[in-house]
């Protein structure tokens, strides 16, 4: 038997296929099943080329192959995950939910991966790409100010980096990102905005965070943000500050971040795919470490 955590990936779109490449690169994870609905999809073709076990039976394939799976990455859609979760739970597997279905516990590795892994949570929700980019910054600001009145994040992503499920899930994206912002920053109110930019060549992912705070301490905010950046850079190399914490109109702090991907399945501009997948792989690796420790 292998001593790697055995992962199934459900969904063969942009997210699922990029995850596959990242899982295969990990020393702690292996992909034992790549399941979708259509053998002719680009993602499936990629998986065939990589020699991975594939199936076109979707969630039923997870049931059939349950004995070779520890963790299921669900990279389908919010509506589909709501149907998948009872099945995955019934099999006694851990779900890492890549959709904004928000059935499980929100996880941002830079904030709470260890806590999540130690808590026995079985459904781990990766929030959204914009959430992974902005929530840790919001949390860093909240370390300095526990009285944030309002927090707003706006992400712009390249049109080509948004697949059909992302597009159909825009409302869930907004609601889930806002819920996570409130949870991790303690802000009274939150707003999330997503902009799909049609430009060709495609634009890089950028996220701007605005926080409304009385008398912001910009020196301390800078330090907290820089410390958080280091934690994020542990799992997302291309995460960088574009505009450092800047005060506008006395009570608004604005920070802009750019996320460049490593260019696994989609080109580097698709930092949105990269950051949520890097985060998910990071959590899975933490689970693997915990499991391996228990076994040794």
């Amino acid at each position: 038997m292998s001593n790697k955590l055995r992962c199934a990936i459900l969904g063969t779109g942009n997210i699922g296929t990029d995850l596959l490449i990242k899982v295969m690169r990990s020393d702690l994870l292996e992909c034992t099943l790549f399941a979708g609905r259509n053998f002719r999809s680009e993602g499936m073709q990629k998986a065939i080329a990589l020699g991975v076990n594939i199936s076109d039976k979707g969630i039923n394939a997870i049931v059939d192959k349950a004995d070779v799976i520890d963790v299921v990455f669900d990279a389908t859609s919010a509506a589909a995950h709501i149907e998948h979760w009872p099945v995955i739970e019934g099999l006694g597997k851990i779900a890492i939910d890549m959709t904004p279905a928000k059935l499980g516990s929100f996880c941002v590795p830079a904030i709470n991966s260890q806590e999540i892994c130690g808590s026995g949570v079985r459904n781990i929700n990766m929030i959204t790409c914009g959430g992974q980019a902005s929530v840790p910054i919001a949390a860093a600001i909240a370390e300095v100010h526990n009285n944030i009145e309002y927090i707003e994040i706006a992400s712009s992503i390249a049109s080509r980096s948004a697949g059909p499920a992302t597009r159909a899930n825009l409302d869930e994206y907004i609601e889930t990102t806002e819920d996570a912002l409130i949870k991790f920053s303690g802000a009274e109110k939150a707003k999330a905005i997503l902009i799909l930019n049609p430009a060709n060549p495609p634009v890089d992912m950028q996220t701007t965070v605005y926080a409304k705070i009385k008398n912001p301490d910009i020196v301390k905010i800078n330090a907290a943000v820089n410390a958080m950046m280091l934690k994020i850079n542990n799992y997302v190399a291309g995460y960088a500050l574009l505009v450092p914490p800047t005060v506008i109109n006395d009570d608004i702090v604005m920070i802009t971040i750019k996320v460049l991907g490593v260019g696994d399945y989609l080109p580097r501009y698709a930092g949105n795919l990269d950051i949520i997948n890097c985060a998910a792989v990071g959590v899975a690796e933490d689970i693997a470490t915990n499991v391996l420790e228990l076994m040794s």
Partner: protein, 340 residues
């Protein structure tokens, strides 16, 4: 040949861009009454970026969507009440359902020119509730005529009863409009519309070109009140279409009165084509950026024209207002971000 043109009037929506979304409650009641009396078929109101868009990113509105919609509703008897709604800013549950409850008649569901598929659920929702629904493709100059027609065709498939393309940057010359409207008219079985901006002084000429190419929905604002150098001037459109023999159902004298009222009561400074607006139009950047570009330009001592040119080369679209500061800082040379 059908000689009817449906005029949609976004004075109280696009005009909000011109005042950083600070239109007052009285402005909505005053102008709605005047437009209603003139027989304007459709009056669009709200934050410049539509439902649920009030934000630090694109500007906080002095009034809530609820107040704007209920005020407009009270003052419109014959005109239909329309809203602009961009998925990504607004959600069905939080914003569209509220607009439905407050009696909105027409939903104009908008996306950037190649992003029609984000409007599927929102169009379906409004249709399901028996509302009139249009698809809107913004920043339409960024897509080729064929691509634009494909996106419009998707909107038709989702249930849109017409598709309007916006020249959000005021970038088109009449030939560009003819080419795009023709492509849509050929592809679609529903009405096609055009929304002009006047950066290059083409607002009316482009609207006429659109109609000649087969468009039957045209947007126009009183005195052109709208983002940047404004929209096609509504009362001029009404006069021009009358001269061309088209029916708009709008009473010319009364719309002239409504425009006079708008100038006197609600428009603090009439739109004109500023030097910066010309560069903005040429560079193909969203007209709504101009207020923020001007203030950041003044604050950081960077030429507003250079900011627009750089934003254009980065293909900035509406909703990327946060780029303005970044670009200004980079041009100023003191960005502490990465080197470029």
């Amino acid at each position: 040949m059908n000689k009817k043109i449906l005029i949609s009037d976004p004075t109280l929506r696009d005009g909000n861009h011109a005042v950083r979304h600070q239109l007052r409650k009285n402005d909505f009641s005053t102008y709605c009454k005047a437009a209603d009396a003139a027989g304007v078929p459709m009056v669009e109101v709200g934050h410049g970026n539509g439902l649920g868009a009030s934000s630090m990113l694109v500007g906080e509105c002095s009034l809530s969507d609820e107040i704007i919609l209920s005020t407009a509703r009270e003052n419109l008897q014959h005109s239909k009440l329309a809203v602009h709604a961009i998925p990504g800013f607004c959600t069905i549950e939080r914003h569209m359902a509220m607009a439905l409850d407050l009696g909105v008649d027409v939903f104009r569901i908008a996306a950037h020119c190649t992003e029609a598929d984000i409007t599927d659920r929102h169009i379906a929702f409004a249709r399901k509730h028996g509302k009139e629904v249009y698809g809107v493709l913004m920043m339409s100059h960024m897509a080729s005529p064929d691509h634009l027609a494909d996106e419009a065709f998707k909107m038709q498939g989702y249930g849109a009863e017409g598709v309007v393309i916006m020249d959000s940057s005021g970038h088109y010359l009449p030939f560009d409009v003819s080419e795009r409207i023709s492509a849509l008219v050929e592809m679609l079985s529903i009405p096609v519309g055009f929304h002009a901006h006047n950066n290059l002084g083409m607002g009316i000429a482009n609207s006429v070109a659109a109609v000649q190419a087969g468009a039957t929905i045209i947007d126009g604002s009183a005195r052109g009140f709208g983002a940047g150098s404004g929209n096609a001037q509504l009362e001029v459109l009404v006069a021009v279409f009358e001269k061309m023999g088209y029916e708009t159902g709008i009473d010319l004298y009364k719309i002239l009165d409504a425009a006079d009222i708008a100038e006197k009561e609600i428009i603090p400074s009439l739109p004109y084509i500023s030097s910066t607006s010309i560069v903005s139009g040429l560079s193909g950047v969203f007209s709504g950026f101009i207020k923020e570009v001007n203030s950041i330009s003044a604050e950081h001592g960077v030429d507003a024209r250079d900011i627009f040119t750089e934003l254009g080369s980065r293909n900035a679209v509406a909703g990327q207002e946060s780029l303005i500061l970044e670009v200004a800082l980079a041009l100023k040379g003191d960005s502490s971000g990465e080197a470029r």
